[in-house]
Symmetry: C2
Subunit: 401 residues, 2 copies
């Protein structure tokens, strides 16, 4: 027996999947026409469930429960990475709709740009807790096309709108449902993950200045090849990071751009996007120290200089024990023995909300662990079980002393 209408929940998810559809996934970069269409779709859905729906000056879509508290906040994000999956983010927002439809006293929020299409990262969830300044909005640019955030907000019709901040006293807690984005549940044959903590992501831009030159006329001894310096630094990171990382640390080079990028020209500039993740501040700081040490060593050895710019340094978050207890009880009731407690390797809006109100997360399996790719998927049965567990957990949590 479940509080939640899982058929209506799946129908909502499939409806949202059609907005910006790309193969079996979706393409809804933040503030693109497809993204804005999905935000309008969401406002209509929230209103239909009896919530007061609005959109704010950073693109957060908020549905406020009109009745008395205590309230719970539910949500995630609905923009996506480029040509990415249909569930990442969307699942947690649509789960919020399902809980509201079931009559639970929930506010629902889709936090803007969790995916970090714009510099800064987590714009929506940072804005809603009062951690995003107007000055930072002024400076932020799109990481793909370099356009300013202000221009994007203007084009989306959001310029000048006030930004919503949450009142922590309104909420007993925050819940975010999400796909696992890994293979731990699948490999263990489990269906529900109760999240114990969320890693922090520390992101860096490495800019290497060389000398653009002809690839034939310039001898190996003379050249200042920014691309080669990038390769040497990244090879050093590849060798050194395993010695300083934590047991579940990850580190990733997502982009290497050589300028001008032609076959017969020695790259005069290289730009690298690098990030690492861990749940422990001590490990994060050790990895950062190592990055800066390797850059200093490389700069002493190479003819091209590397400049490091820290783009974002989030704080790892531990999930609230009382919410974890409610999620665990609900999981054991609806899927006995088929759940586990586990950390989140990905960053989520919940890590910001956790700074103001107790927060927790619930994971459902990702088929093949595929994420941030249009092939991302989860079985309907697992989606339905997940939202049922979430609804039951919120009921238990609200009724606890």
């Amino acid at each position: 027996m479940t509080l939640v209408d899982t058929d209506a929940f799946l129908k909502d998810l499939y409806e949202l999947r059609e907005i910006g559809r790309f193969k079996t996934g979706v393409h809804r970069p933040t503030f693109s026409p497809q993204d804005m269409e999905s935000r309008r779709w969401l406002m209509a859905k929230l209103s239909a469930c009896g919530l007061d729906a609005s959109i704010d000056g950073i693109g957060n879509v908020f549905g406020r429960h009109p009745g008395p508290g205590p309230h719970v906040l539910c949500g995630s994000h609905i923009e996506t990475q480029n040509e990415a999956g249909w569930l990442d983010g969307a699942l947690g927002v649509v789960a919020g709709i399902a809980l509201a439809r079931a009559g639970l006293p929930v506010d629902v929020c889709a936090f803007a740009d969790e995916e970090g299409h714009f510099e800064g990262g987590f714009l929506g969830s940072r804005s809603i807790i009062g951690d995003l300044t107007e000055a930072e909005i002024d400076l932020s640019r799109n990481r793909t096309d370099g356009g300013s955030l202000r221009d994007a907000l203007q084009a989306a019709g959001l310029a000048g709108k006030p930004r919503i901040e949450i009142d922590p006293s309104r909420y007993k807690g925050f819940f975010e449902m999400h796909i696992e984005q890994g293979t731990q549940l699948e490999n263990a044959g489990l269906r529900i993950g109760v999240v114990s903590g969320i890693v922090a992501i520390w992101q860096y831009r490495l800019v290497i200045a060389g000398q653009q030159d002809h690839a034939g006329g310039t001898t190996m001894a003379e050249r200042k090849d920014a691309g080669l310096t990038a390769v040497r630094l990244l090879a050093a990171i590849d060798a050194e990071f395993p010695r300083v990382c934590g047991e579940r640390s990850t580190w990733t080079t997502g982009r290497i751009a050589l300028s001008p990028g032609a076959p017969s020209i020695i790259p005069g500039k290289a730009e690298v996007l690098f990030q690492f993740r861990d749940v422990s501040m001590a490990v994060l700081e050790r990895m950062e120290d190592t990055l800066y040490r390797l850059v200093r060593e490389t700069n002493r050895r190479e003819r091209c200089q590397i400049v490091v710019e820290a783009l974002s340094k989030a704080i790892p978050a531990l999930c609230d024990p009382a919410e974890m207890a409610a999620l665990s009880a609900a999981a054991e009731a609806l899927a006995p023995g088929a759940w586990q407690v586990m950390p989140s390797g990905a960053g989520h809006d919940a890590q910001n909300i956790a700074r103001k109100i107790p927060a927790s997360m619930l994971f459902v399996p990702s088929i093949g662990g595929i994420s941030h790719h249009w092939a991302e998927d989860t079985k309907d049965d697992d989606l339905a079980l997940g939202v049922a567990v979430l609804g039951d957990a919120v009921r238990r949590y609200l009724s606890a002393a």
Copy 2:
């Protein structure tokens, strides 16, 4: 005393610099509107000097001397790398105009796409010696935007035009004037280089297939990071190539593209443009063997597989001794003691023309060795001296037994 009107020569060069101007350089990628404008400008110039001007089906602009032989062919190319220098290529073509204006029996040719904006490389000079098939034209794509060569020819109004082939019996020889694209002349305080041979460029595309995944949810042990495999291979090349290269070999990675190129996504695909150059076939083959060996070793060790595609493998060319003797005599007459014999580290159209008729090259200094960049430059005095030496050398060569 010189045959050549060096003032008119400089005036022509400065005129051509205005077409597609970018800062102090030019931007004329092959078959762009700016490039086609420069080809029309060239045809008008050739006609004004009494040559029969035409453009062929691959974009070669040809000026045919109407009088009796023996003839000499002069030329180079007029398209440029992106946002590159004003002299690279243009110099050798405009020098041909100057020799025609001086009444020497020269044909002048601007060979299309020496810069290799399209796959295959050296399309124009390979076409004119009969070494470019229609099938290769069918397959060739723009290396920057992926558009087909056929579409580019159509858009430029060249589709369906016949392609010119040279009759080797018409020519006593070929001369190409060019900037050095290095610092050897400048560092030695010399003003003229008589080229002894031209390196061949062997170009490769390395495509690495991984698995696109979320950068947080996928552990280091699980991931198939195509970008990391690229870095490891390039680091291995960096370590190994110095052991197998020749004394003046060069090798260059001009582009690394990670797909999708976002900060929080493990690259599912990496594409690398890699090339090396030498004057010796034995050294070229040794470097290629090493590349394939390192790829095989990497493929055995890594979870991502690398596929190597050879894009172009030119043949190194030695310059004609009689032409070198004429260039040396002219250089000693006009710049006593201020010249040297030297190899060319860059590839040039002359290496293809040399397969059909005796060929040689003359270098003038590049300020700071800068090339393939808009800051590329050469002193007017050196340009004027160079064209005077070229004219005198062609006169000596034609009048020799």
